[in-house]
Symmetry: C2
Subunit: 498 residues, 2 copies
C-alpha cells in the first residue's frame, strides 16, 4: 500500500472517529441535554467542525491526495481506490469554500433556525423571511464556489453533499414520471377507499410504557442489538450515534400508538444499515453510507415495504393486542392493515402517507431549485408554496404554519436534502422487489417474525458495500437495472388498488 | 493585551471546549452507553486526547508562551497572568513526556482496568499483579520525566496533575498530625456510641422513584438548576459534563435511601462549584477549579459539614417522612441524625464514615508513595495493605477483594489522587468554620432550607475565584490562615463527642 494513501487513511480515520463523537453529542442534544446546555454544546460542535475543516484544508492534504492518486494504479485495491476518491471528494468540498463563508453561513443558519421556531409558532413568515433570505444568499455563494470545483451546477453542488454524483437531469426525469402518475393514481385510491367502509378506529389511551415495550420487542424481532444501541425519545424521530452504538428515537402520543411505532420501525431500518456497514472499513469514508437516498431506502424498505405489508401486520397484530389489551374487530389484522395504509391528502409532510408523501417532496424540490437558481425570491415563497400544494394535492394551506414554515431544513441551510426522501422511497421499492424475487421466503419470513432472510439479502446487497459503489451502481448491481419509477408505481398499485 | 497571549487564549479556549465534549462523552459512557459502544467510545476519547496533546506540543506553542511571558509585565491583568502560568504548567506536563510513553501508559492502564474488574470479582490479585506492575513501571517513567521538568520529586510530579503545587512535605505533616489524633479519637467515639442506645433502623423498601424525587427536591432547595444539569444513575456516583450542563449521578438501593441521598448531596456540592466557576473565564485554564482537593472540599462541605448536620437533618426529616411514608420514632430528626453520623471502622473506603475515611486515605497515600519511589513491589502490596488496615483501623481484610483490590484508581494509572480526598475534608471543615463565623445566618438558613447565605459566601470565597489563586492561597484568603488540621479535628470533636 502506497505511503501517501496510508497516511490519508490515518488522517481520515481520526476524522471519522471525531465525527462519531460529534454524532453522539448531537444525539445527546436532542434527547438528554437540559435547555441551558445549548451554548456549551454549540461551542463543542463548532470546535469539532473546525478541527474537521482544518484537517481537510491542511496544506499537506492536497499533496498527499495528489501523491496517492499518482501511485494508485496497481498499488491500491478496489476498496482503497474507492476510499481515495471519496477522500478527494471531501477535500474538494472543504477547500472550495473559504472558512469565513462557512462560518458566516453557520451563524446565519443558527440565527435563522432560532427565529424559525418562533416564526412557525406565530405564523410570522414576514419576520422570518429576511433571515431565510440571508441563508439563501450565503448558500448560493457556497453552491457557486463548490460547483466550479466539482464541475456541476450550483444546485447539484449542494445535492452532492447528500447525494454524491446526483444530477438534476436524472432526478427531474424520475420526478416528472412520478408527477404524471400521482394525481390520477391518488384520485383512484381515494375513490376506492370511499367505496369501502372506513377502517375502525382504535380506542386509547395507549400507555407510553406499553408502547415502548412493544417497540423494543419488535426492534429485537427485526434484529436490533440492544448491546449496540438504544431507543429514546426526542421531538422528531431520528437515528444517531455510531455503527457500534446506534441510537434511535421516537415520540409517544398516548392517543395513537401507530405513529410512534412506525417511527420506531423506520428508524430501525436506518439503524440496521449503520450496524451492517463494513466493519473492516469503519471510520473510513468508504465504510460509510453511500448516500442519503440509500440511507432513506433502508428505513423506508423496513417501514413501508416490510412493516406496512400484510405479512408483518399479521405477525404483529397479536403483539399489539397483548400490549394494549386490544379486543374486537378493530384489532383484527385486516383492520390494522387498513389503518396502516390509509391514504389522505394533507398539509404536513411528516404526517403524510406513502402515496401523497412524494407530492410534498416534488414541491420542495422544485422550489429549492428555483431559490438556488435565483428564479424565486424568498418573499414569493408562501404564494408559490400554496399554489403548488393546490396543484399537486388539491389542498391549500390556511396559513404558513401549515405551509412553507413547516420544515426546519431551509432555515438550517439544508438545500438539496429533500429529494433524497423520494429517491429513497423509489430505491426501497426496487430493492424490496429484487429481494423478494431473489428469495421467496422473505415475505413468509416476515409473516413469521423472521427477518433473517430479508436481512441476509440486504447485508450482502446493500449494507456491506458501504460507499464502495455509488448509489446508482449499487442499485443496478442489486436489482439488475437502473433506478426505475415503474417499480415504485407498481408497488403503489398493488398495495392500494389491487 | 499582548498578541501572543491572545493567540494562547484562542488555542486554550478550543482545548477547553473539546475537553468539555470529552466530559459529556465520558458521562454518557457511564450512564447511557450500551456495552457494545465501548470500542467506539474508547477511540473517540483517544482521538480527543491526541488532538489535545498535539495542540499542547505543537512547535509554535512553546514560542507563544515564551513571547507572552516576555510581554507579561504591564501587559496582562492579574487573571491573565494567572491564566498564562496555568497554560505554561499544562505545556510542561504535555511536553515532558514523549507521545509514545503516554500511549503505552494509556493502553497498559486500559488493559489493567479491564483485568481489575474480573480480578476483583474473583479475588485474584496474582492475576492482576503483572498488569498493575506494568502500569506502575510506566507511571514511574512519566513521573521521572515530569519531575525533571517541574523541579520536584517524581511523586509530586504525579500529584501535580490533581493538586497543583502540592508538596509531600506539607501533606506528610498534615497527615502525621491526623494519624496521631485519629486512633485515640476513634476509640472515644466508639466508646461513647456504645454507651448509648443504637439508632433505630429505618424499614424499607424505599421505592427508587420516591428516592429520586426526594433527591431532586433537595437538590433544588440547595440551588441546583435543572435547566443547567441532570441527575442520573451510574455504578459509582460522579459529577460530569460542563459548567453550563453539569450532570451528577447516584445509585439507588431499595433497602437504604440514605446512602444514595447522601451521594446526591455530595455530588450537588461538586455541581454547584462547577456552575459557580467564573463565566467570564469559561473554557480557559484560570476559569477551572484550582485543584481536586478544592473540588472535593465543595462536595464534602455540602455533604459532611452542611447536610449531615442537625440543622439540615431537622429541615429534611419531614420531607423524608413524606417521601417514604415514614412514621414513628425511627423517623425523628434526632434518630435520623444519629444514623447519618454513625461511626464504625470498616474495610471499604467508599462506605466509610467521616471519622474513619481519612485512615483509608492515609494508607493509600503511604503505599502509593512507596510504589512510585520503588520502595514497595506490587507483589508485596496485599501484605502491606492488610498490615496498614490493622494498624490504622484495627481490622484486617479477609481477602483482597475487601483489601487492595477494592479501588479502581491505581489500575487506571491514577497515582497522587487519593490524598486529595482527605485534603478536601480538611479544607471543607476550615471553609465551613470561616463561613459560619462570617455569616451567623448560614446554619439557621440551612435549618430553614435556605442555602442562599451559604452559597453567597462560597461563591465569593471559592467558586468565583476559579484557578486564579492556588489552593493554598485561596484557603488562606477565605479563612485567614493556612490549612490547619486543628479545625478538622475540632469539627470531629464537636460533632462526635460534644
Amino acid at each position: 500500500m502506497a505511503e501517501a494513501y496510508a497516511e490519508l487513511e490515518r488522517r481520515f480515520r481520526r476524522l471519522g472517529i471525531l465525527r462519531g463523537a460529534g454524532a453522539v453529542l448531537g444525539w445527546d442534544r436532542q434527547t438528554m441535554m437540559p435547555v441551558g446546555g445549548a451554548d456549551d454544546r454549540t461551542e463543542q460542535a463548532a470546535a469539532l467542525a473546525l478541527v474537521d475543516h482544518e484537517t481537510l484544508t491542511d496544506a499537506s492534504m492536497g499533496a498527499l491526495l495528489d501523491s496517492a492518486e499518482a501511485d494508485e494504479a496497481g498499488a491500491l485495491e478496489q476498496w482503497e481506490s474507492a476510499n481515495l476518491r471519496l477522500m478527494r471528494r471531501q477535500w474538494i468540498h472543504a477547500n472550495a469554500v473559504e472558512a469565513g463563508l462557512v462560518e458566516a453561513l453557520t451563524r446565519a443558519a443558527a440565527t435563522a433556525e432560532m427565529r424559525w421556531r418562533t416564526a412557525r409558532a406565530e405564523d410570522d413568515f414576514a419576520g422570518f423571511a429576511p433571515l431565510l433570505a440571508e441563508v439563501v444568499a450565503l448558500v448560493r455563494e457556497v453552491a457557486a464556489a463548490t460547483a466550479t470545483a466539482l464541475g456541476c451546477t450550483p444546485y447539484e453542488a449542494l445535492l452532492d453533499s447528500f447525494e454524491p454524483h446526483g444530477r438534476t437531469a436524472d432526478i427531474d426525469a424520475l420526478f416528472a414520471d412520478l408527477e404524471a402518475f400521482l394525481p390520477g393514481f391518488l384520485a383512484q385510491v381515494i375513490e376506492r377507499q370511499a367505496g369501502r367502509p372506513a377502517p375502525l378506529p382504535l380506542d386509547g389511551p395507549f400507555p407510553v410504557a406499553a408502547q415502548r415495550d412493544l417497540g423494543r420487542r419488535l426492534m429485537a424481532v427485526i434484529g436490533f442489538d440492544f448491546d449496540h444501541g438504544r431507543l429514546d425519545v426526542s421531538d422528531h424521530p431520528f437515528t444517531g450515534g455510531t455503527p457500534g452504538d446506534v441510537r434511535i428515537t421516537t415520540r409517544y402520543h398516548d392517543d395513537d400508538f401507530a405513529k410512534s411505532l412506525m417511527a420506531v420501525l423506520h428508524e430501525t431500518g436506518h439503524a440496521l444499515y449503520e450496524r451492517g456497514l463494513p466493519a473492516a472499513w469503519r471510520y473510513q469514508p468508504v465504510g460509510e453510507s453511500a448516500s442519503m437516498s440509500l440511507h432513506e431506502s433502508q428505513s423506508l424498505l423496513l417501514e413501508m415495504q416490510a412493516c406496512r405489508g400484510e405479512a408483518f401486520i399479521g405477525f404483529a397484530a397479536p403483539l399489539m393486542r397483548d400490549a394494549f389489551g386490544g379486543d374486537g374487530p378493530a384489532w383484527d389484522a385486516g383492520n390494522l392493515h387498513r389503518l396502516a395504509t390509509r391514504v389522505a391528502p394533507g398539509l404536513i409532510r411528516v404526517d403524510a402517507d406513502e402515496v401523497t408523501y412524494p407530492a410534498h417532496i416534488l414541491l420542495r424540490y422544485r422550489l429549492e431549485k428555483a431559490l438556488i437558481a435565483g428564479d424565486l425570491a424568498v418573499d414569493d415563497l408562501p404564494g408559490a408554496w400554496n399554489d403548488g400544494m393546490q396543484a399537486l394535492l388539491g389542498v391549500t394551506p390556511p396559513d404558513d404554519r401549515l405551509g412553507c414554515l413547516q420544515d426546519i431544513h431551509w432555515a438550517e441551510g439544508l438545500f438539496g436534502y429533500f429529494p433524497t426522501y423520494t429517491l429513497g422511497a423509489m430505491i426501497a421499492a426496487q430493492l424490496f422487489d429484487a429481494a423478494t424475487a431473489a428469495d421467496p421466503d422473505i415475505v413468509p419470513g416476515i409473516g413469521r417474525g423472521d427477518f433473517a432472510p430479508l436481512m441476509r439479502w440486504l447485508r450482502a446487497q446493500v449494507h456491506e458495500l458501504g460507499a464502495s459503489l455509488t448509489t446508482a451502481e449499487l442499485v443496478e448491481r442489486a436489482t439488475g437495472r437502473p433506478l426505475d419509477v415503474a417499480v415504485f408505481k407498481a408497488h403503489l398499485e398493488t398495495r392500494y388498488l389491487a
